[in-house]
Symmetry: C2
Subunit: 300 residues, 2 copies
């Protein structure tokens, strides 16, 4: 029988000091474990501010090797607590070659899987293409004693392809460390729509694939370095877990918060028996998904 | 500049008499056109009850050729009104070969595109695999004077692949004629979750692809032929249109209703500039989408 797994989400505000961020994160991981968490997911780039608001090569100084300071700190916590942890890392892979990655650590503290963000955004104040080389490891699933984790990161969540590919590999819980928020000038007009769209996409991955989805976002206002007064991103929090029917089991607010959520992994099979979407996929007609664009008169 | 298109949705209860269903549907198409509709979408299998609650070969008598009675009736309406119509048909293609199809008719009444439902369900009281051969025409887009329509049908809506494939072909408006409802014994416990999941998936297709999505469902209780007292399906209506950010522009209730909704097709480009998901698809790593399953230890 599939087990009930308690998943912990650590949603924090982030300071300019990576050591402090690591220390506070470890504290909150301990808190989650005390409340029963067996698998903890951290927010994207948890060790630093979200530096991608501007393109500045000095920020590459924040990058670290894998293993390195972040995985060492969390590895010790994982081992002490006997839990698995999804640890996002700004990965320094080689001289001048960096990724937005995450590492899944097992309850003995060992690295189980490395995932490198496959879909890399680049929008005003989310200028990630400057910093992060797109992942070259593909979509992976990590077997842990607490379920098979499908590690994905933030922008991946807008791509049904990513969720499907890890589900096809047997993932039971998709984890999305995230850094998403409102630009102050847009919040009043578009903020609610943006938040709803973000939540809707995550829930759709759960439904389409019959899996649990865990999204962990940061909180707090981070000013844009060198920007005008008031420029920056207000990270919206709202970290949540939904079940294989897209039902939100628990959702955080917009301040610092630790969630611990019971996920009955047996729900996937129960749901898939009634919603057997994998049975009917038309793999004989999906070739177009490998194309950039198929239409040929699409200028109006 | 992309136009504003007025889309009409005809949500009706259905009788046992196909002629009456066609007549009433045409009446309501006229009503939609009087209110400004330029592109009208009907509900799945609009000419009959939803006969798939049981497997009974006599129901094949309801099937019709294309062109045939349903397309003739709606073709005349399209020509008179100068509108395009998405017309679902239980298609008799050959002796003993049937499809769940839809035809897009242009404003001169001519058939523009035939689509045959690609994903065919089979669940208790939705026993479609007995009746409908899976489509062999693939995913298509229909250029009309009122926008490029991506015709899909009901169960297709649980498949992000289908929405993506028609969007990649340049569809601006995805239309989903639908027949979905509650089994009375499930409604109290699961009804709200089912309806929310259905709406969530549609909205996710709009968001992931930056397109409008139109879902048209039937209403009314249809008893299961030969079933016990109270057995049947309560079709839930709630036909709706959402915009390229997944915002629901209009939604019907659970009774008969005609909606006419203005869709500014220019919204797609505005939204895709901020949410440029097509730019970042990792087509170099999507090969697994052509597989039935990739995992190999997935028995627990």
């Amino acid at each position: 029988m599939a087990p009930v797994v308690h998943v912990g989400l650590v949603q924090l505000a982030t300071s300019e000091d990576p050591d402090e961020n690591r220390r506070r994160t470890v504290q909150h991981v301990h808190q989650a474990a005390r409340r029963g968490a067996q698998l903890v997911c951290l927010q994207e780039l948890f060790a630093s501010r979200y530096f991608c608001q501007v393109e500045d090569p000095t920020w590459f100084d924040l990058a670290e090797s894998v293993p390195g300071p972040s995985t060492h700190a969390l590895s010790e916590a994982a081992r002490q607590l006997g839990i698995a942890i999804v640890v996002p890392v700004f990965e320094r892979r080689a001289v001048g070659l960096y990724h937005n990655s995450c590492v899944v650590l097992g309850p003995d503290g060992a690295q189980l899987t490395l995932y490198r963000k496959m879909h890399v955004p680049d929008d005003p104040q989310y200028q990630e293409k400057f910093y992060f080389t797109p992942g070259d490891l593909g979509f992976r699933v990590c077997p842990t004693p607490f379920g098979r984790v499908g590690p994905l990161i933030c922008w991946d969540q807008w791509y049904p392809e990513a969720a499907r590919l890890v589900a096809l590999r047997g993932a039971q819980i998709l984890t999305y460390p995230t850094a998403i928020g409102w630009l102050p000038e847009e919040k009043a007009s578009d903020g609610a729509t943006q938040l709803r769209a973000w939540r809707t996409m995550h829930r759709s991955h759960a439904i389409a694939n019959g899996v649990f989805v865990v999204a962990v976002n940061r909180v707090g206002f981070e000013p844009k370095p060198g920007g005008a007064f008031g420029e920056g991103i207000e990270f919206w929090g709202h970290s949540f877990v939904c079940d294989p029917q897209g039902v939100v089991l628990a959702e955080a607010g917009e301040g610092e918060e630790v969630l611990v959520v019971a996920c009955d992994l047996g729900r996937s099979e129960a749901v898939r028996r009634w919603w057997p979407f994998f049975r009917d996929r038309r793999i004989d007609h999906y070739g177009g998904l490998m194309e950039r664009w198929v239409g040929d008169e699409e200028v109006s």
